[in-house]
């Protein structure tokens, strides 16, 4: 099932099961969603439950918060994570804080969905990976969907939670066909081990997971067996799954599309160093985006983010220089 259809199905099922669930965002209704994630739901559930909003990101999240306070379960779509920067007051100062500041009196069963990442030549204001901004805020949950299974089950789970969730999607995955696994006990708080291996633990999320899997297949031909972990949740991170893998492999690589500095790579490798320093046979490796805005030119664009080829070659040379 296409990733976008899995998201659509999750929204459809949630709306079918619970009349309190409603959708809002720019173009989500009549138009069917900029990435067609909400296609057909406007016709099925009507304009009162699939609400087209003005271009007003801060107030899209703000009105969703007000709806959630009254007991509805809104799912707001921000057209891209880049535009969510206009909603950062509502995300950081409001949805992440209201429950705590009220001494637990306010419930915010609210999901804010958005795609992020590099698509193809959309330039710097449409290509960012901003997960670290959200993941650094206590009071939010931050979930990622790397395939149709985590898209469907992760989004349904997020809608059922009584806490606010930032739900990240990747622009390049919408049209990709993945098997939709029937995992009733899917738990986004648990990282997924997508592939087992004895030599290197590779942690990733969103689209990079697939580039990592490809690179790891090539590495097998060199006799290197990677264990690939997909972080479904970035806040909280399931460190236990990472630790138990690293205890086995004694090596950690983190792969992500955002600029290398101050990202998930820093967090994951710092924690591993704090907890498992004497287990490690090599310093952790981060393979990530460059410290630049994403350029328009295709050649430069591809240089700014990890590719399967570069993931492969960097892991290979790093492991050679550390005795593998």
């Amino acid at each position: 099932m296409l990733y976008r259809d899995a998201l659509n199905l999750a929204l459809d099922h949630a709306m079918e099961q619970d009349p309190r669930v409603l959708l809002l965002g720019e173009d989500v209704g009549f138009y069917g969603g900029n990435y067609k994630v909400t296609d057909g739901l406007y016709v099925k559930y009507g304009p009162k439950r699939v609400i087209d909003t003005p271009i007003a990101e801060n107030s899209i999240v703000g009105t969703a918060i007000g709806m959630a306070m009254m007991g509805l379960r809104p799912v707001a779509e921000i057209m891209t994570a880049n535009f969510a920067m206009l909603a950062m007051d509502q995300v950081v100062n409001q949805m992440a804080k209201l429950r705590y500041m009220s001494g637990g009196k306010i419930f915010l069963p609210l999901v804010v969905r958005m795609p992020q990442g590099v698509a193809k030549q959309l330039a710097a204001q449409h290509s960012q990976s901003l997960e670290h901004l959200f993941a650094s805020v206590p009071g939010l949950y931050v979930f990622c969907a790397s395939d149709s299974t985590s898209a469907y089950h992760g989004l349904l789970y997020a809608i059922k939670l009584d806490d606010p969730v930032i739900f990240l999607e990747h622009v390049l995955l919408y049209g990709v066909d993945f098997p939709l696994e029937n995992s009733k006990d899917f738990n986004p708080f648990q990282a997924r081990v997508l592939k087992e291996g004895k030599d290197i633990t590779v942690v990733s999320y969103l689209k990079m997971v697939h580039d990592v899997l490809k690179a790891c297949q090539w590495l097998e031909e060199e006799g290197l067996y990677c264990e690939v972990i997909d972080l479904v949740s970035l806040r909280p991170i399931d460190f236990e799954t990472i630790y138990s893998s690293v205890k086995k492999t004694k090596r950690l690589v983190v792969v992500y599309e955002a600029p290398k500095s101050f990202g998930l790579g820093a967090e994951v490798s710092a924690r591993v160093c704090e907890e498992l320093f004497y287990f490690l046979d090599a310093p952790p490796l981060r393979i990530a985006g460059g410290e630049v805005p994403i350029p328009y030119n295709r050649r430069l664009e591809l240089l700014a983010i990890p590719t399967p080829e570069r993931i492969y070659s960097q892991i290979l040379s790093w492991s050679k220089s550390h005795g593998l």
């Binding site: 949630a14 099961q17 619970d18 669930v21 409603l22 009162k48 609400i51 909003t53 003005p54 007003a56 801060n58 107030s59 999240v61 703000g62 009105t63 969703a64 918060i65 007000g66 709806m67 959630a68 306070m69 009254m70 007991g71 509805l72 809104p74 007051d89 509502q90 100062n93 409001q94 209201l98 429950r99 705590y100 500041m101 009220s102 001494g103 637990g104 009196k105 306010i106 419930f107 069963p109 206590p138 009071g139 949950y141 809608i159 059922k160 939670l161 009584d162 806490d163």
Partner: protein
């Protein structure tokens, strides 16, 4: 009717005034800390609006002690919150700017200017969708009307036809900046007039505020659409305890103090025979007692335990969820 109202207004406005005067003392003693914004001078707007609005959800800015009192939250729970005690309305985690009591449809206290306006719009959308009529009262200052969020909110409220009463308490100053230096329009109600019915009223006369809000409430209930009121008022104190308010001339402050809303209410009520000196004396006695008890309660209440640091952040699946 006017007798009962006058009594209610006087009690709440005077209680609010005395509570805040006491807050100031307790702040200087070190029992209250952080930011403390007093509404002294603006009580007619707060009490007239909350009583006039009656049933419905309240979304307030950070200057909300009197609004909370008028909604029925007891002084002792407000005082305990200001003291940072676990018995406070927000368990000591919110403080002066974050008083919440959803059971009384009181949704804070927000410390980001205008950020609660879209909450009010969303809440009104939800109430209307659920078939409830009461609507939502959103109160904010003059400074908020210059923000993008304000314009986003009045646009969405009007577009979606949701029952919100936008009440702007125009005290003329955004901290130290006079509206003439921050707003291109001097009359703030004009900013909403193309979106919804919008009026300007004297915010120092509680009866005027009350009547305007009752009329607005009837409108939003009948039509399920928004309404805007600008209430002209003045704060007698600085923006917060950190601000002396001395960017305003003593003459200007005096001229507004001559129209002290409590004094106006007393003069009018005595003249009309709605209140007697004796009634006022008895209410003052009661207020003194309530405030003493509130401070006593706050002082004797425990601090939150260390274990409270990480509670109330997430609840997981804690209410009635999808089957």
């Amino acid at each position: 009717m006017s007798q009962t109202l006058a009594e209610k207004f006087y009690y709440l406005m005077k209680l609010g005034r005395e509570l805040e005067v006491r807050c100031k003392e307790e702040y200087l003693k070190g029992n209250i800390s952080g930011f403390l914004h007093l509404a002294i001078g603006e009580e007619a707007v707060h009490v007239g609006a909350v009583i006039g609005f009656g049933k419905g959800d309240l979304f307030c800015p950070y200057r909300e002690h009197v609004l909370a009192l008028a909604r029925g939250i007891e002084a002792k729970y407000i005082m305990a919150e200001l003291f940072g005690k676990v018995t406070g309305v927000s368990k000591g985690k919110g403080g002066s700017m974050h008083l919440y009591e959803p059971k009384m449809d009181f949704y804070g206290g927000n410390a980001i200017v205008a950020a609660h306006l879209p909450h009010a719009v969303g809440a009104a959308y939800a109430r209307k969708l659920m078939g409830e009529k009461a609507g939502v009262l959103a109160i904010f200052g003059d400074g908020a009307t210059n923000s993008g969020t304000f314009f986003e909110s009045i646009n969405m409220a009007s577009l979606w036809e949701v029952p919100v009463l936008f009440l702007c308490e125009n005290n003329q100053y955004a901290i130290g900046t006079h509206i003439s230096r921050s707003s291109a329009l001097k009359d703030l109600y004009l900013k909403a007039r193309d979106y919804m019915p919008s009026v300007q009223v004297d915010g120092m006369d509680v009866f005027v505020v009350y009547e305007a809000v009752v009329k607005a409430k009837e409108y939003i209930e009948e039509y399920g659409k928004p309404y805007f009121i600008e209430a002209l008022t003045y704060r007698f104190e600085g923006h917060s305890m950190a601000d002396k308010g001395d960017y305003r001339s003593p003459r200007e402050i005096e001229s507004f103090k001559r129209r002290d809303p409590i004094k106006l209410l007393v003069d009018k009520s005595l003249q009309m025979g709605w209140l007697t000196e004796e009634q006022i004396r008895l209410m003052d006695q009661k207020i003194e007692k309530v405030i003493e008890e509130a401070v006593e309660f706050a002082l004797n209440s425990p601090e939150p335990s260390e274990g409270e640091l990480y509670t109330d952040l997430y609840c997981g699946v804690c209410s009635d969820v999808i089957p």
